[in-house]
């Protein structure tokens, strides 16, 4: 079907009282960014709906992108026809024919914003139901939970028909909840945590620690590519890489082995918090799941969390690994995450890290290193990259290779 527009229904924001306007504006901005590759589109954000007028753009491709925008409950590809009953009938029949599977039932659901139209809603339902029944043998009417619902909207500028409703990504428009930092390692959990944070309206920035030569440039490229996988939900994401080699070497040199990991995590959190402050973020997100590894016991959280009062939000904290993996597969980060490049969490990992570190001892051991000096050095070495959807980092030399092959 040659659809003329996509009608987008808002998610939870209809319940948000006087913030409604700012939510709609944000969603409008996010939809516009997500659809920037389709120049002919015309997007209107109204009070109850958002309309994407296609002007010939590919509806399937547009809907794929729309499906990734948070704050959308569902959307329907629609066709606008003139206020002429012959056209309405023809379009209605063609639309149902395309979708009809043997045994299906249907109903017609009409809304009128123009009450001056020649048929009222009941007349329209009866009229269209009749012609559809006459033209598609085997189809029957069912008012309660039919397989196909033909929605007809009579407006002043024309009549809109749609028969499909596609589930949106749900959640809240990214940005409406404010900004947060995500500690992105490259594993399975942190990208999922980032996805869930964005789903609740958070604009995230990635903070990634890397420790060359202990970690390879591939590990860094992998973290960037993971960011690119998450970028469609936000338009683009700021990637902040923090050099961590000197800190890790110093800790290894000075701190007792059992507390290496705990002190190292404290430094990561301190740095993330500092960066959050610099970027006016409100919270820190990470991919910790309770009990998964040594650093993710509640005792470890006490010893690590000690460095800040900033809220540390852990979207996957109570999930089982296979629940996290399920989401990672759905958002297509899983296969990237399991690529075997060592990240800075695993280097210098002692054979027996403390699973129940003592807070007092942790504080004492941390004082063995020059926290302020090392942090200043790391902050000075930060690099930032704006990452968009579909960027590739692991596969370098792409244009050179393309010319060779």
């Amino acid at each position: 079907m040659e659809y003329t527009e996509i009608m987008v229904r808002y998610g939870e924001l209809s319940t948000k009282g006087k913030n409604r306007r700012s939510f709609i504006d944000r969603l409008f901005g996010n939809v516009t960014k997500a659809l920037h590759r389709f120049p002919a589109l015309e997007i209107h954000a109204r009070r109850d709906r958002l309309h994407v007028v296609l002007h010939g753009e590919d509806s399937a491709a547009v809907m794929t992108r729309l499906g990734q925008v948070f704050g959308i409950q569902n959307f329907s590809p629609s066709i606008r026809v003139e206020r002429d009953m012959d056209q309405v009938r023809q379009t209605a029949i063609a639309m149902i024919k395309e979708q009809y599977q043997p045994g299906d039932t249907f109903k017609v659901n009409t809304r009128r914003s123009d009450h001056a139209f020649e048929l009222d809603t009941n007349e329209m339902n009866t009229e269209l139901g009749g012609v559809i029944l006459d033209n598609i043998p085997g189809l029957t009417v069912r008012v309660h939970k039919p397989e196909i619902t033909l929605r007809v909207e009579v407006r002043l500028d024309g009549i809109y028909l749609s028969s499909r409703t596609i589930k949106g990504a749900g959640g809240l428009p990214v940005g409406t909840a404010g900004r947060g930092m995500l500690m992105l390692s490259g594993g399975i959990d942190s990208p999922v945590a980032g996805y869930l944070a964005m789903k609740r309206g958070v604009a995230i920035q990635m903070v990634h620690f890397f420790s060359p030569p202990y970690t390879s440039t591939k590990a860094l490229a992998k973290a960037k590519e993971l960011t690119s996988k998450l970028a469609p939900y936000a338009g683009s994401i700021q990637f902040i890489e923090v050099p961590f080699t000197h800190i890790q070497e110093t800790i290894k040199n000075k701190v007792p082995e059992a507390y290496l990991m705990t002190v190292q995590r404290r430094l990561m959190l301190r740095l993330t918090d500092k960066i959050r402050e610099m970027h006016h973020g409100l919270a820190i997100f990470n991919g910790e799941a309770l009990g998964q590894v040594a650093s993710q016991t509640m005792e470890s959280m006490v010893a690590i969390n000690d460095v800040t009062t900033t809220p540390i939000l852990r979207p996957v904290v109570s999930m089982d690994k296979n629940e996290i993996i399920k989401i990672a597969e759905d958002i297509d980060t899983f296969n990237l995450s399991i690529m075997p490049f060592e990240d800075c969490c695993t280097i210098f990992a002692p054979p027996a890290p403390k699973t129940r570190p003592n807070l007092e001892k942790t504080r004492v051991y941390e004082q063995l290193i020059d926290v302020e000096g090392l942090m200043a050095e790391a902050i000075a070495g930060i690099k930032m990259t704006e990452i968009k959807a579909d960027e590739e980092f692991l596969a370098q030399d792409q244009s050179e290779i393309a010319s060779l092959l």
């Binding site: 591939k218 030399d397 060779l404 092959l405």
Partner: protein
Amino acid sequence: MIYFDNSATTAAAPEVLTTYQTVSQAFFGNPSSLHALGNKADNLLQQSRQQIAQLIQAQPEEIYFTSGGTEGDNWVVKGTAIEKRQFGKHLITTEIEHPAVKNSMAQLEQLGYEVTYLPVDKHGFIDPADLKAALRSDTILVSIMAVNNEVGSIQPLKEVADILADYPRVHFHVDAVQSIGKGLLPMLRLPRIDFLTFSAHKFHGPRGTGFIYVRHGRQLAPLMTGGGQENNWRSGTENLPAIAGMAKALRLLLTDEPAKVQQQQAIKTKIYQHVAQKAKVTIFSENTAKFAPHILCFGIRGVRGETIVHAFEEHDIYLSTTSACSSKKGTISGTLAAMHVPDDIATSAVRVSLDENNTMAEAEAFMTAFDKIYARFELINS
């Protein structure tokens, strides 16, 4: 120069050589090395694999790089024999296979394997009924070429595949060296075919490289063991310049394939119709859809094939006496012997083999030369 010996080998395409040279210098790292140069080379290797897979409608993990057609054939035949030896020691092939298959089979016979060689009819085709009769419970491999390299007969692989549908454990190998770029991909990609052998230098790629297709799930014992390259199936540092060159050559080959095939068929038809008029000419490659569009095998009665080759050479036209591999040995063509062509006629056979670079003008020049040569031999031969 008119080059009509493309089934023997082809000239490397200039674009392929550019790739070969660039890769040799800019991607010289070992794909197994951990550093950036190694990564860069590995990336190119995997993308070459991906491109080749895509071009033959396969998955990247179904492509294994080799040193060419001979290795591919050896590997599938002997690799299957090793891999499946506990299931049986019986293999089936045809009397008209390339020596890479035939002699691998002969070697296996010496090791205690049993081989059935399917005969062909006088036109060079196997009879699927013979295959059906030959299959046993201990058969582990059926190896049948797609296009015969000497006369161009296209073997009935569809019928073979249908028969083998009832023998799901038997490996089905097809030597596809002569059939790529000849409009036969749908036949090569029949779902029952497990293994395909390809060679790069037959399609303007570099020498010393090729690949096999291994259908997902099929197992093959390695012949080259060592550093674990190619998923530990074929060790040896990858010949990356040649592999990348081959990926490019294959892409060029399959671009506008239908038009290229049509042109070769038109040239073959023209030459066929011309030489067929002569009383002393015997044609072994019919001009029908059952034969490949690029191979025309014929003989002039009473003149040795070798003599015909040299006579054309005087006109700067290059053909061969059937298969280049056996032509120097002066033996009779294996395929023609299997077709029961009498010796005196078989020794007269020559092969014209075309590719997409040949033109109608070359066909005209060939025909002019042919007429002169034919008249000259008629004098001494009458």
